[in-house]
């Protein structure tokens, strides 16, 4: 029943010297997808003088069929047209249709450019203001839960630590271990040239514990947990769960932002220690293989090579990374509009902004503590 005959049009030379375009078959949306040939035929036939049209053999005609013919005829019915009575009303709708201009204006002018720039600037300012409002609200919430400890959302915090911390152990371990191996192999080649193999421990210890461990963990968490937090809040907006919380008088920041920020502030330093340990294991494994430095030597020399202050700096900045990643993720989550494009865009923005901020903060830490922790 779905099978339809193809639309056909043929030119018939009548006895009186005139021509008749004879249409038959099914003229519907499914049979007219490839209209190029039909259009070409109609255009050819239209050049014939006193052409008449016979559509009585058309078995089915829908809006697309009528519109195609209507457009080909120059938006008017031919003077000589024969068709089934039930098909005639289908042309009437095109006769009466008035098309409004629904396209957006495309003109480029100085005024529009200036207006656009103003909008962008206003947008940036509004974003900054909104971010600081969220930050301020978080500070107020922190004071509130210090004053009323029983209001602390422990269940949400515990859940967030599990999601962002425990479930990230595998990937951070793998990446950390591999980076340790890569760093150790590359350094070993250089150190061998100077006969300074033993300094592999200093290089790995300092770079991993102070820099790479916290940074790697932060980048992985921003990509993994930050994006998940943003999407989670965004979906809550789409499904009106945020409105439901507001309607119940429950603070978004207390219930959604604070647990995530608190959880990452706790989980990030731990993840950083874990990632650094795995990277050191990778480095140690590689050092034994390439430089014959055994594990015992590595463990004995590591505390001398890396003063404790480096560990503390690594832990401190990991905590700041955690705070920033969670805050940025929540901020972009609340900016999501109830549509799929916004969800994708803001999740991307969240990850990009979090990673950029993490690297900027890392640079600030490097400058502030440049004279601290060197053996």
């Amino acid at each position: 029943m779905l099978l339809s005959s193809a639309p056909l049009i043929e030119l018939i030379h009548l006895d009186n010297g005139l021509y008749c375009a004879h249409l038959s078959g099914t003229w519907t949306v499914r049979t007219l997808v490839d209209q190029a040939t039909i259009n070409q035929q109609i255009s050819q036939y239209l050049t014939k003088p006193n052409l008449s049209w016979d559509m009585r053999s058309v078995t089915a005609l829908d809006s697309v069929g009528t519109l195609l013919l209507w457009q080909a005829w120059g938006e008017c019915l031919p003077t000589s047209l024969q068709l089934k009575p039930e098909h005639r009303p289908r042309f009437a709708r095109w006769q009466t249709q008035v098309i409004d201009d629904i396209s957006a204006p495309h003109t480029l002018s100085y005024a529009r450019l200036s207006q656009g720039l103003q909008l962008v600037m206003a947008g940036v300012v509004a974003q900054l203001v909104a971010f600081f409002i969220l930050l301020g609200q978080l500070v107020l919430d922190s004071f509130y839960v210090v004053r009323y400890p029983n209001r602390m959302p422990w269940a949400e915090i515990s859940r967030a630590i599990y999601d962002a911390g425990v479930r990230a152990l595998g990937i951070t371990a793998l990446v950390g271990f591999l980076i340790g191996i890569v760093l150790s192999y590359l350094s070993a080649l250089q150190l061998k040239m100077f006969g300074a193999e033993i300094y592999i421990i200093n290089i790995l210890g300092l770079s991993i514990i102070r820099e790479l461990g916290p940074l790697l963990a932060a980048i992985l968490v921003a990509g993994r947990s930050g994006s998940a937090m943003t999407a989670q809040i965004g979906i809550m907006r789409v499904t009106e769960e945020l409105d439901a919380l507001s309607a119940m008088g429950i603070s978004h920041s207390l219930r959604l932002v604070l647990p995530k920020v608190f959880a990452l502030a706790v989980a990030m330093p731990l993840l950083s220690v874990w990632t650094s340990s795995m990277a050191l294991c990778g480095g140690m494994f590689s050092a034994q293989d390439t430089l014959d430095i055994n594990y015992q030597q590595f463990f004995q020399r590591l505390p001398d090579a890396v003063p404790l202050s480096n560990v503390l700096i690594g832990l401190g900045k990991s905590m700041v990374f955690g705070l920033v990643i969670a805050l940025v993720a929540c901020y972009y989550g609340f900016r999501i509009q109830p549509n799929t494009v916004s969800l994708g865009n803001q999740t991307t923005n969240s990850v990009v902004a979090a990673i950029t901020l993490v690297i900027m903060i890392d640079a600030v830490f490097a400058i502030l503590f440049m004279n601290t922790g060197m053996p």
Partner: protein
């Protein structure tokens, strides 16, 4: 045999794991009829609707749509989907696209790319569902519930299908918007003469629009026929649904 039926269900059984949803459902819906599918929540109405368009497959039995079996017929299912419009319960409009692009989407997917033709068809369809041409620029997020249903209906009808499936078309609409929607559907049905299968609990729709009613209860099709015929059924669900105080007021 199947050609006289737009839809024919032959001994359809559906199971989700151990749970039996449909048991031996048989039905023949003639062309051009409007079928209201009624049943308690969770009795498998939407599942049956999804089986009709091939989104799900029954565990046993066969479904014929427009004379052809859907069983292991991937090509036919693809062909059927261009000849079958579906209106989902919440509209299921693509939130990233404007109203215009939502309605034009099936046309473009079918292979049409002439801008003028698409514009005229979309605007005509938009007007036929009672919306203005200026609404074409809006995004789904800017629309009310009634408007979303209308746009979704325009999208479902843009390819002028011979079968229209509706999942609770008036759910979430106020009585006025609901009545408008019923009138709209009735007018479009008269004009385009498609076959309709709709899942509904709306007694007004069953009275004003549906020419056939199928009642699902206890996994079986317990009644099928006109409203008067179905109301004479003896199943307890029919008594609960069609003979309660509110139903009596509506059907009187």
């Amino acid at each position: 045999m199947s050609d006289s039926c737009a839809i024919k269900l032959v001994q359809v059984w559906t199971r989700f794991g151990d749970k039996l949803i449909h048991q031996d459902i048989n039905l023949c819906l003639p062309h051009g009829e409007i079928l209201g599918l009624v049943g308690a929540s969770g009795c498998g109405k939407t599942t049956l609707l999804r089986e009709l368009i091939g989104l799900q497959q029954p565990s046993q039995g066969d479904i014929y749509v427009m004379g052809q079996s859907l069983l292991n017929a991937a090509d036919y299912k693809r062909q059927l989907r261009t000849n079958c419009g579906m209106l989902f319960q919440k509209g299921a409009l693509f939130s990233a696209l404007s109203v215009f692009e939502n309605i034009a989407f099936p046309l473009r997917e079918l292979g049409f790319n002439e801008t003028k033709l698409i514009t005229r068809l979309v605007l005509m369809k938009l007007e036929s569902v009672g919306l203005s041409q200026q609404d074409a620029r809006l995004k789904p997020a800017d629309l009310s519930g009634g408007m979303i249903k209308r746009v979704a209906l325009a999208r479902a009808l843009i390819l002028e299908p011979s079968l229209l499936l509706l999942d609770e078309p008036t759910a979430g609409l106020d009585p006025i918007a609901s009545q408008d929607f019923v009138n709209l559907l009735s007018n479009l049905h008269q004009e385009l003469a498609f076959t309709v299968v709709m899942v509904t609990h709306d007694l007004d729709i069953l009275r004003d629009l549906c020419t056939q009613i199928a009642v699902l209860a206890d996994r079986h099709l317990v009644a099928y026929g006109t409203l008067a015929e179905v109301m004479n059924g003896e199943h307890p669900f029919i008594a609960q649904f069609f003979h309660n105080q509110r139903a009596k007021r509506v059907f009187q």
